[in-house]
Structure formats: C-alpha cells, structure tokens
C-alpha cells in the first residue's frame, strides 16, 4: 500500500541500565555487550517477567537512556541526539505496539491513528489522512466510533495501525498479543508480520508467547538482563 520503507539495522553495544535500590545497592536491569539486528529482519526476544524485556525495548527506542553504551540505528547514534531530536526520530522511525494498546478512549479510532501526525503538524496532510483510513481499512476497524467500546483485538489492531502511520523502518512490539485471546492474537500477529514484510521494516518483538516468537527467524532469550541467542537451560521454549 504505502511506499516501501527500508528497514533499519540496529547495533547496540555495552548497554548497562541500573537502578539505585533503597538499600543503597544497585539493581542491574540490563547488561548487554552487543545486540545486532539486520535491516528488515524479524527478531523475537523471549524471557520471563522481570528479565528486562521492556527495559530493553525502551532503550532501543530511546525513551530510556542507559547508564552507558551505544544504540545505533543505521547511522543514528540515539543517545548522542538531544531529547527533542530523539523524539522527532522516534516519531517517524519507530512504530510502537504495547501490550495494553494505550489508545486514547476520548479519540475516535481514526484520530487515534492520526495522533502521531498531530505532534508535528497543525493540519494533517491529506496523504497522511488517507493513509490512516487505509490502515484502518487494512486492520478492519471502522474509522468512527467509540474507541472504548472496541473489542481488545480491535483495539490492538488500531494501535498497530497507529504504529504504522508513518511506515516506520522499525517496529517494536512489547507483548503485542499477551492480553488477547488466541483468535485475536493470531489476527494481530498476522497483520503485524505482513505489514513488516510489505514495508521491509525491521521487527523486534518481546514476548513470552513461544508460538509468536517462533514466527521470527531470530529468537533471543533474556534472563536477568542478559541476552543469549539460545534458550537458556532448562528455562525454555519447551511449551
């Protein structure tokens, strides 16, 4: 449908995220020597709750600065940018999908999809508005209506449409199917993968859904903030 965007290549190195504890000690939430994602590839990061999956996602899209380390998407060194520049980059380069959708119930489905366009322009470009409608058409949700009354599956499809508004080269999804029933989950996952294939976007999703992870050629495992490319024994993808 839209112009085919090339994916982006990620190189993240020596990432350390640590939080001070009330006791005075520190909690190391993330410690990653090197993570590389090829342009246009689909990658799943699996791991139990609290393993640092969400922190990793936040670092990779620049909303949480690591204590040290470097995150480069293509030529963009994320944390060398100022905060405003990073916001701008994220707006156009990254599509984010959350477990809890994070739609605005006060806005119609169409306005939800168009929301990122409001961040930069006073008037929404006609082409962007057309794309928003086309995306809602693709995910099969009516443009008008009460967003709060949509089914959970529909909500996540609207959120996916919002993430795809600017045809971003990077799509990051945080447990995109975890709060959906199997049927809705399958539909969302299908839309997500096909959209990424169509635009060539790099997809990175964190999940504990083994079936979803299995649809990605590259699966990594995160445990206590550390990545490994193989499933750690005996915690595994056995299910």
């Amino acid at each position: 449908m839209a112009k085919a965007a090339r994916g982006a290549r990620l190189v993240a190195e020596n990432i350390v995220v640590a939080y001070p504890l009330p006791t005075g000690d520190e909690l190391t939430a993330l410690e990653i020597e090197r993570l590389e994602i090829l342009s246009g590839s689909h990658t799943a990061v699996c791991g139990p709750s609290g393993s640092g999956k969400t922190t990793l996602l936040h670092v990779l899209c620049g909303i949480e600065a690591p204590r040290s380390g470097q995150v480069c998407w293509d030529a963009v060194d994320l944390f060398a940018l100022g905060e405003a520049a990073r916001d701008r980059w994220r707006r156009h380069a990254v599509g984010l999908v959350f477990q809890q959708f994070h739609l605005f119930p006060s806005l119609s489905p169409l306005e939800n999809v168009l929301l990122p366009a409001r961040f930069s322009a006073f008037r929404v470009d006609a082409a962007v508005a057309r794309r928003a409608r086309a995306l809602l058409d693709l995910v099969e949700v009516r443009v008008v209506g009460n967003t709060a009354r949509l089914s959970r599956g529909e909500m996540q499809r609207v959120a996916l449409a919002r993430a795809l508004l600017f045809a971003p080269p990077i799509l990051l999804a945080d447990e995109p199917t975890a709060s959906l029933d199997a049927e809705a989950a399958a539909r969302v996952a299908g839309l997500m993968f096909s959209a990424c294939r169509e635009t060539g976007a790099s997809l990175l999703l964190v999940t504990h859904d083994a079936a979803l992870a299995a649809r990605c050629p590259q699966v990594m495992h995160l445990a206590a903030g550390r990545l490994s490319s193989a499933a750690p024994e005996p915690l595994s993808v056995a299910s």
Binding site: H58, C61, E64, R90, F98, H102, E111, P116, R118, F119
Partner: protein, 441 residues
C-alpha cells in the same frame, strides 16, 4: 504541532468534571464581578442623585440622615428649621435658588413633597417633561414614575402608607385636593416616585400658617415671573385646577417671598449656589446661627468610605474564593494527572515532544479556567443587574451596573494567574521520565 484535537477530545470525554470545575470558577468570578460592578453603580447613581443639590440645610442632627432624607426621600422625623431662614436665603447673595423640602403626606407609595417651583426647574436649568410647574396651591407636579396623568385629581393621606392602621383606614385630609399639572423627566432617583406640591399646600393641610399674610392674597395674585412665563407658553387646553380654586384656599399665593413671622418651619432646605466659592461661603454661613449645612456629595463620600470597607471585605472574600477555587482546580488537575501519567508517557513514546505534552496539559487546564472566567463574567453581570433591579424597586435609585475596566482587569488577572498556575502541572508532565510513566508504576 496541534494538541487541540486531543485537548478537546479529552475535555469532552471528561465533560462532567470539566463542567463542575468551570462552574466552580464561574461562581467565584461572578461574585467578584458583581460586587465590583454593583458597588460602582451604587456610587455613581447616588452621586448623580445628589448632583442637583449643592447644599442641604437642616437643624444640627445627623447630617447623613439629612442627606438621605432630601436626596433619597427617606422618611425621618427631622427637627424643623425656622421659617425665617428659608425666607432669608431667598435674598442671600450667591444663592441661585433655595427650596424647602417638607414631607408628611403620601398618595399610595408616592411621597408628597412640599417645595417651590424653583425645585421643579432647578432654578430654571431643567424643563418639564410634560405640562408646567405648579402655580396654585392646589396644583401638583408628579415624578416620572408616578402612575398618574395630567389632569388627575387626588386627595392625599397622612403619614407613611406602610405604617397604616391595621384596620386599613387611611387618614384622608378631607377637603384638600390636588390636580396634576406637570410631570418631571426621569432622574433615576427616588424623586421619580414623588409628587411635588407647593410647600404652602403642605402647611395648609397641616393647619399651619402659609407664609403669606391672609390679606396679601390679592397683592400676590400673580405667581413668580418665571412660572407665569411658562404658564403663557402652555397650550390652551392644558389641564387646569381652576375648579379646585373655588374654595377659600384657592387664592393663597405660592412661592417666595414669605413673611418671616408667618412662615412655618421646614425640615430641610436645598440650596444651589451660583459658584463653587459661593457654595463654600454659604455653607460656612449656614453653619452659624443654629442651623447646619452640608454638601451632600461630601456626606455621601463618607458613606462610601463606610460602604467601601464593606466592599473591600467582599472583594477580599471574592479574591480568596477565586484563589481557593484555583487551588482546588489545581489539586483536581494533579489528581487527574497522576491517573493520566501513563497516557502522557504514551504520547512521548509515540514521538510527541515535551512541549506537546506541556501544551496538552496546559491547554486543558487553561480552557477550564477561561471558560469559568467568561461564564463568571456573564453571571456577574447578570447578578449585578438583578441586584440593580431590586435596589431600584426598593429605593427608586436607578443603578446602571456595567462591566467596566475594573471587572475586566480582575478577570484578566485571574486568567494570567491561571495561565501561570496551569503551567505547573504542565511542567511536571514535561519533566516526568517517559519510561517510568509508560510502565504505569
């Protein structure tokens, strides 16, 4: 960027809370606006009411009461000034006119005030709206709001009708009738409800001497020159009181000069001076010899300073109310903000700048405050009008309550303070770490 679609959607989504907040602000603002506008209206209209009278002369007692009685026709038992003072003032240099004000009778709710033709025309500076000034003792001139017409004949009752006997009996002065020969234009004062008659009539009705020797009636068959001029200019079929003149009083002359020995006392005399210098000199002179003289405007100023204290208290209360309301609004905003922390973080995660998030929060708070302030301005105007109508109905004092600069400044100041305070939640949202908010922790 354009935060407005989101802002309006959010306001609509939370319309009940938004409305409650706006109404709360509106009530606080309307209180301040109404107090301010009403106080100015009262000041202006009472000053205007006192304007025709430079000096009010009375016996030494409450000067405030003297002014209230003459300017606002508020009934009060005043000690009488000897009649010779009234006659003396007629020929005092610097006096444009000196008119007595004598009370006692009522027709319905209209007080009947005894005076001279000079009061009707304010010494020739005011013309009648209808008809002509009185020229005979049985003639009367009505105020603009009196429900009567030229040619009507009436018989007054003694005393204040509100203090009428419980059996409903009114004390009619049998045999003394007045005919309406003229009407004054509206003044916006209690005088609009008054019936003005020759002071001689009031004396006569109360069985007092009339200031003219009984034998002088023939000598002064013609009224004052000024009045007779008007008389000749009037239409030939104008209302006449001639048939009332057939009794033995009909030939009593009216107006100055009076015979000092035959002139009864009057409760008050209003004096218009030729110049400001004359006014000061006359006041000083009239304060000697057992009488007192006041500038009504000055007495009213004293009254205002008393009223002003009350106004200040009300103003402080209204400002405090506004401050409390704004504080309550901010508290509510913080509560809402805590709940919406995640939403705002989502905006940032989706690529909104910090200023976009600030604008979303600031606009929402500001729109509530602005809507409240504007509604409050309207409500305040409405309230001031309502108070004006009540005061007007009770006192006859026309009060034009308007929204003017002080009220606008007050509302603007509120908006400015609101704009600054609305920035506080805006800044807090601006600085909040996105990652933390996103986790909803």
């Amino acid at each position: 960027m354009n935060p407005l679609p989101l802002v309006f959607a959010e306001l609509r989504h939370n319309h009940a809370a938004v409305l409650a907040v706006a109404v709360l602000i509106a009530l606080a603002v309307s209180l301040g606006v109404a107090v301010s506008a009403q106080e100015r209206a009262l000041r202006n209209s009472s000053a205007a009411a006192a304007e025709p009278f430079d000096i009010v002369v009375g016996m030494p007692a409450s000067q405030t009461q003297l002014v209230l009685t003459t300017v606002y026709l508020q009934p009060a038992a005043l000690e009488l000034i000897p009649g010779r003072v009234l006659q003396h003032l007629q020929s005092t240099p610097g006096v444009r006119f000196a008119a007595p004000i004598a009370f006692g009778d009522y027709l319905g709710t209209s007080p009947i005030v005894g005076s001279t033709a000079a009061l009707l025309t304010l010494g020739g500076s005011r013309s009648m709206a209808e008809g002509r000034p009185f020229e005979r003792v049985h003639e009367a001139v009505i105020g603009a709001r009196v429900a009567a017409k030229l040619g009507d004949v009436f018989e007054p009752a003694h005393g204040d009708p509100s203090a009428a006997a419980p059996d409903g009996e009114t004390h009619v002065h049998h045999g003394f009738k007045y005919a309406v020969v003229g009407r004054l234009g509206p003044t916006g004062t209690p005088w609009d409800n008054a019936i003005i008659v020759p002071v001689e009539a009031v004396w006569l009705v109360h069985a007092l001497p009339t200031g003219h020797s009984s034998g002088a009636s023939g000598a002064r068959a013609k009224p004052t020159g000024e009045a007779s001029l008007l008389r000749e200019a009037a239409a030939p079929n104008e209302p006449q009181a001639d048939h009332l003149d057939d009794d033995e009083n009909g030939s009593i002359p009216i107006g100055p000069p009076w015979l000092e020995a035959e002139t009864p006392g009057v409760p008050a005399i209003v004096v218009k001076a030729n110049s400001v210098g004359d006014a000061y000199r006359l006041r000083a002179e009239l304060r000697r010899g057992g009488t007192t003289a006041v500038f009504p405007a000055e007495i009213l100023l004293d009254l205002y300073s008393t009223l002003g204290d009350a106004r200040d208290v009300l103003a402080i209360i209204s400002v405090a109310a506004q401050a409390l309301v704004i504080a309550a609004v901010l508290l509510a905003v913080f509560a809402v903000l805590a709940a919406r922390r995640q939403q705002l973080a989502v905006l940032r995660a989706l690529g909104a700048s910090r200023s976009f998030v600030f604008a979303v929060v600031w606009c929402q708070v500001m729109i509530m405050i602005a809507a409240g302030a504007l509604i409050g301005l309207g409500l305040g105007w409405f309230g001031a009008q309502a108070i004006s109508r009540i005061v007007e109905a009770r006192t006859g004092l026309a009060m034009a309550a308007r929204i003017a600069r002080p009220e606008l400044v007050m509302v603007l100041a509120l908006l400015l303070v609101g704009a600054l305070l609305a920035a506080v939640p805006g800044i807090i949202s601006y600085r909040r770490p996105v990652s933390e908010g996103l986790r909803g922790s």
